[in-house]
Symmetry: C2
C-alpha cells in the first residue's frame, strides 16, 4: 500500500503558501498532522518544516484520492497534488489559515504507527521520553525552529568573520591531553598500543600555534569535550566559536567582538545592541553582584557592611570580622510585607545550599529596625546600617556573614532568586557587560598552589607584571568575559608571547622548568621562532543559543544531546565493547 | 629588548600595497623574511599572510630605527611605520616589487632563533621535519594558501547550501559504534564504567534520523574518524561534507550536487564545469577502465579479449578461460618504440604488486605481431587480436589474464602508470563523471556472506528489487559516486525507507531479525513512525582540497595532520595516560 513519489516533485512548502497562490496547482509533501471528516469532505493538516496547511479531499474533485484519504492517520507521509483555494471559514490562528488545497492526487509514501509522544510543542511528556524518541521530538515546531535558528546563527557568525578576513581552520580532534585543564576524554590508540589521544577541551594551543605560523586571523566553530561531572545545562561535548587574532591588544579583540555580537542580535533576534557594551571590573562585579557573571536586568546590588561591626557585641558578626570574613547584604526596596517568616526561612535554606551558615534579615518599619538580631546590635550600629543602606520604610535587608567567597556566592544567588520570585526579570531585555581585569591567579586549596584563573598563557596587565613574584594574587589578567543576562557567553584573553614572561608565569604556578617543558614543550619550542602579539576569545555556542532561542534547557538547542549521566537515550551510547576491540586496543576493563 | 606595539596599529597588509599607495604613511606588522645592507641602507623583506614588501631603513629618515634595524634577523617579528615610495630598481617578480616603504619607526616585537627549516616553498627538508615544526612549515606561502583556499571552499559550499534551504545541524561525536562499518575509535566512559562511546565514521544514521524528524534538508561539514590501517593520503580523522535531503530520488540529488560542484570550481578555481556531468555505469567503468573511479583525462581503455582464447593452445590463456577468469588488455597507440625490454619488465613488476601473475605484451610492427607469446598463438587468434583491437603499425598491447578483479585492478593501475610515464595527463584539466548503478552487495570472502557495498540502508534500483533473494549480485543500488580525475570525491545514495524492504535487505545480508535489531534498533524503531523518501551524499573534503590545491599529499591541505602511524610529530600525541586517569576510566593497559 506504500507508494513512491513517481514523477511528483514538490513545488511548494506548506507554510509558505498564501493568498497569492490562490488558483495555482501545487505539489506538497509532508506529514499528516491530523485528519477529520466533515460534511462529506475529508480535511487534513499537512505539515512540513515550514508549517501547516489544510488540505481537502472531495469526491467531486477526485474520488480515488478521497477513498485513499479515508485511510490516512497522523504522521503518515504523503505527497499531494491539488489546487489552492480561498478558505470559506478562515482560521486566523494559522499562518496559512486563509487558504486550503483541494487534492487531485494523493500518494501515501509511508504509514505510521501511533507515535509514543505527541507532535506538538506543549506536549508535557517526560524529558526521558523526548530523548528516547528524539526523532519524533524534533518534529515539534519549536525544536525545529531552535535548530534552524542555530544554523542561521552559525551562518551569521561565519559571514561576519569571513568579511573581517578570518579564515576557518580545522584543528585535530585526536590530540594531546590538556595540561592544567579539566578532565580529558581519552581515546586508546590501536596503532600505538598503550598510548592515548585526548579529545580537545578547546583548540587553545593550536590556535596559538596558528598565530605563530602567521595565519593572522583564525576562527573555527568546533566541538570540544570535557569529562566533568555533569550539571544541568552542561554537556560532555559542546560547541565553541573559537577566535584568535594577531597584532592585537585587549581593545582590538573587544571592539571586533562587539560588532560580531551586535550583528548576531540584529540578524537573529532583530534586537539592537548599543555599542560600546558596558564594562565592569571583576572586582566591581564581585563586590556589587557577588558574581563574575552578574545579571544586570535588575538592581539589588550587594553592600559591604563589614566595617560597621568591627567592635560589635554581636558575636556572629564580630567573629566574622576578626577572622577576616565579610558581612554583606542585599536590600529589597519597599518589600518587607512580601517576606513572611516562612518565606524567609525558605530563603535561608536556599543560601545554605551555597554554603552560608545562616541568613540574617532586617525590616525597616515605623522608622526602626525590626529583626531577630536587632537586640544584639548597638544603637550606633543600627544607625550606621540605616544610613549606609539608606533604608526607607518597608525596606528589607538580607545579610550573610562568612568568608568572602561564601558570602558572594550566597548573596549573588539570593538576589537572582528574589528577582525571579518577584517576577522582576524582563525576559525580552538583553543586558550585556564585559567583565575585565580578572585576577591572573586563583589559589587552589587542593593542589596548595596558585593556578591560572583562565589558562597559563593569559597575559598579565602590563602594570602588574612586577607583582608576579611578590604579590601574585594582586596581578590582573588581560582577560575579558562577555556576560549576557547573567550567563557567561564567551571569554578570552591576550596571550603571553614573551618567553621570559612565560617562564615567570610557569614559576609562579609552581612548575619547574622541566615540568613546564613536559607539559607545554611544543608551545615553548614554537615560541623561540618569532611570535606575534595575539589574543582571542571563545564563545559557548550552546549557551548563546539558549539565550537566542529563550530556552532554559541546553538540550533544547542540541539535536541529539546527552543526559546528565552522559548517555544517549536514543542510541543507548555508550555501550560495551567487544573482546576483539579491546584486544586490538591493548586495554582491559577492570572489575 | 622586546617591545610592545604600544599605540601602533596595522593600517595595511604587506602584500596588498601597490603603486596606488605611493606617498601614504602605513603601519605594517609581520616577520622579517631577510635583511641585507647595501650602500649605507638596510633593506628587509617584511612578510605577512598576504605576501612580502621591501622596507628600507635610512639614517636620514630615522637614525634610531636604522640602528635598531642592524639587529634584525630572519623571522624577527616587527611593527614598522613608514612611507610608501616608488622603488628605483623595480623587482617585477615580486607582487609589490614596484614600491618600498621607508621606515620612520621600528618596534621589535619578538626575536627569533634560526629556524630549523627554511620558510620558503621549495625547501626540500624531510616531511618529518616539516611535521615536527609545523608552526614554521605553515609560514610557507603555499601552505598558507592551501589553508586559505580550504577556508574559502567551505564558505562556498556553505553559501550554496544555505541558499538552497539546507540547515547545518550538528550531530554527536560521542556516539554508538557503527555496525557494518570500518573499525571505530572508542572512547571509554568514566561515568558509565566499562562502557565506550565510538567516534563517528560518518553521521549517516543521525542524518537519516533528521530526515525522519522532518528537517528536510540537512548538511554538515564535520570531522569523521576511522581506525583503519593508514595508507598514503589517508588520515585517522578526515572532514566530510555531509548532505541529506527528503522527498528526492537519484536525479534530484545529482542535480543539486552538480550545481554545487560547478559553483565550487567556478569560485575556487575559476574553472567552468559543463553540466550535466557525464555518467557512467559501474559496469562500464570496470570494463573500460578496470576501476570504479576512472581517470578520464586520457584514453587507454581496456579491451576484453577473453573469447578469442576459448580454444587456445596457449595454456596460460586457455586455463584462465576455463576457470572463468578474463583476459583483458590495454593498447598504447604508436608507441612500441617507447617500450624497451627493460621498461616492459618494470611494468611487469608494477602489475605484480597488484596481484597479477604476469604481463604479456605484443608489438604490432611491419604488419605482424611481435611478442614472446606469439609462437603459442594460432594465426587465427593473432588475426582476431589484430582486428578486435584495430592494431596499427607501432601499437603495443599489454595483456593480463587472471580472475576479473585482479585483471581490472592491475590493468586499471597500468593505464594510469603509463599515462604518467608518457606525461600524458593534463594537470589543468578536470574530468568529472558520475558512476552509477553500483552493485548493492559484494561478497565478503572472509565473512563468507554478502555485505553492503555502500551501507545497509542503500536502496536497490526499483526494477531489481525482485532479485534481492534470487540473485543478490545482480541487484543494482540507487548509489552514485562523483569521480574527478580518477579520485572518488564524493558518494551517496537514496536510502531504503520501506520497513519491509529494509528487512529483506537485512536478511540478504545474513542477519537474523534479532541481529538486525541489535545493530540498527533505533533506526528501525524510528522507521515505524512515517519516513519520507530521502537520500544524500558525502564528500571527502580533504581529497577535494587536494584536487583544488593541486597537492599530491593529503598533509598539505590539513593544518596539523598525522603521520602514517597516526602520530602527531609536533605534539607527540598519542601519549601515555596516567594511572589516575586509567583508574577513573576503569581500564587497564594490557601487556
Amino acid at each position: 500500500m506504500m507508494e513512491t513519489m513517481g514523477d511528483l516533485r514538490r513545488t511548494n512548502m506548506c507554510g509558505e503558501l498564501s493568498k497569492n497562490d490562490i488558483g495555482k496547482e501545487v505539489v506538497l509533501m509532508g506529514w499528516v498532522q491530523k485528519r477529520r471528516s466533515l460534511g462529506g469532505l475529508i480535511f487534513a493538516d499537512l505539515r512540513d518544516i515550514t508549517g501547516l496547511i489544510q488540505i481537502v479531499f472531495d469526491t467531486e474533485v477526485n474520488k480515488e484520492s478521497f477513498e485513499k484519504a479515508e485511510g490516512l492517520r497522523s504522521e503518515f507521509v504523503i505527497a499531494v497534488r491539488g489546487k489552492v483555494l480561498e478558505r470559506e471559514s478562515k482560521n486566523l490562528e494559522m499562518a496559512t489559515g486563509e487558504i486550503e488545497v483541494y487534492i487531485e492526487e494523493l500518494k501515501i509514501l509511508d504509514t505510521a504507527e501511533t507515535p509514543p509522544i505527541y507532535i506538538k510543542d506543549d506536549d508535557d511528556v517526560s524529558e526521558q521520553m523526548r530523548l528516547k524518541y528524539r526523532f519524533l521530538d524534533l518534529r515539534k515546531p519549536h525544536m525545529q525552529n531552535n535548530l534552524i535558528l542555530r544554523s542561521k546563527t552559525s551562518k551569521v557568525i561565519r559571514d561576519f568573520l569571513y568579511e573581517n578576513n578570518f579564515n576557518e581552520i580545522e584543528t585535530p580532534f585526536l590530540t594531546k591531553p590538556t595540561p592544567e585543564g579539566a578532565r580529558d576524554y581519552l581515546v586508546p590508540s590501536r596503532v600505538n598500543p598503550g598510548k592515548f589521544y585526548a579529545l580537545p577541551q578547546s583548540p587553545q594551543l593550536f590556535k596559538q600555534l596558528l598565530m605563530v605560523s602567521g595565519m593572522n586571523r583564525y576562527f573555527q566553530i568546533v566541538r570540544c569535550f570535557r569529562d566533568e561531572d555533569l550539571r544541568a545545562n552542561r554537556q560532555p561535548e559542546f560547541t565553541q566559536v573559537d577566535i584568535e587574532m594577531s597584532f592585537v591588544d585587549v581593545e582590538d579583540v573587544i571592539s571586533i567582538n562587539e560588532n560580531l555580537i551586535q550583528k548576531i542580535f540584529k540578524e537573529v533576534k532583530n534586537v539592537d545592541i548599543e555599542l560600546p557594551i558596558k564594562r565592569m571590573s571583576y572586582q566591581t562585579a564581585m563586590d556589587k553582584y557577588g558574581s563574575d557573571k552578574p545579571d544586570l536586568r535588575f538592581g539589588y546590588e550587594l553592600a559591604n557592611i563589614t566595617e560597621i561591626f568591627k567592635n560589635s557585641e554581636f558575636n556572629a558578626f564580630k567573629s566574622t570580622y576578626d577572622s577576616k570574613g565579610v558581612i554583606k547584604c542585599v536590600k529589597i526596596d519597599s518589600s518587607s510585607d512580601d517576606f513572611s517568616k516562612k518565606g524567609i526561612s525558605k530563603l535561608e535554606k536556599f543560601v545554605k545550599t551555597y554554603g552560608a551558615k545562616g541568613l540574617a534579615w532586617m525590616k525597616y518599619e515605623n522608622g526602626a529596625i525590626d529583626s531577630p538580631i536587632a537586640k544584639f546590635l548597638s544603637e550606633d550600629e543600627q544607625n550606621q546600617i540605616i544610613s549606609a543602606l539608606e533604608l526607607k520604610e518597608k525596606d528589607i535587608v538580607f545579610i550573610v556573614a562568612d568568608k568572602e567567597s561564601v558570602v558572594n556566592t550566597a548573596l549573588g544567588a539570593l538576589r537572582i532568586e528574589i528577582a525571579h520570585d518577584k517576577n522582576l526579570i524582563d525576559e525580552s531585555k538583553y543586558e550585556l557587560v564585559w567583565i575585565t581585569d580578572f585576577p591572573l591567579f586563583e589559589y587552589d586549596d587542593e593542589e596548595e598552589r596558585y593556578v591560572a584563573k583562565h589558562h597559563p598563557f593569559t597575559a598579565p596587565v602590563d602594570e602588574d607584571i612586577d607583582k608576579l613574584e611578590t604579590n601574585p594574587q594582586g596581578v590582573r589578567a588581560k582577560a575579558y568575559d562577555i556576560v549576557i543576562n547573567g550567563d557567561e557567553i564567551g571569554g578570552g584573553s591576550i596571550r603571553i608571547t614573551n618567553r621570559a614572561l612565560q617562564n615567570r608565569m610557569f614559576r609562579a604556578l609552581g612548575f619547574t622548568d622541566e615540568e613546564a617543558n613536559e607539559k607545554f614543550g611544543f608551545l615553548l619550542e614554537a615560541f623561540k621562532y618569532g611570535v606575534p602579539p595575539h589574543g582571542g576569545i571563545a564563545y559557548g555556542l550552546d549557551r548563546f543559543m539558549m539565550l537566542l532561542t529563550e530556552s532554559d534547557n541546553i538540550r533544547d538547542v542540541i539535536a541529539f544531546p546527552k543526559t546528565q549521566s552522559a548517555t544517549c537515550l536514543m542510541t543507548e551510547a555508550p555501550t560495551h565493547a567487544t573482546e576483539k576491540q579491546l584486544k586490538e586496543l591493548g586495554i582491559e576493563v577492570t572489575e
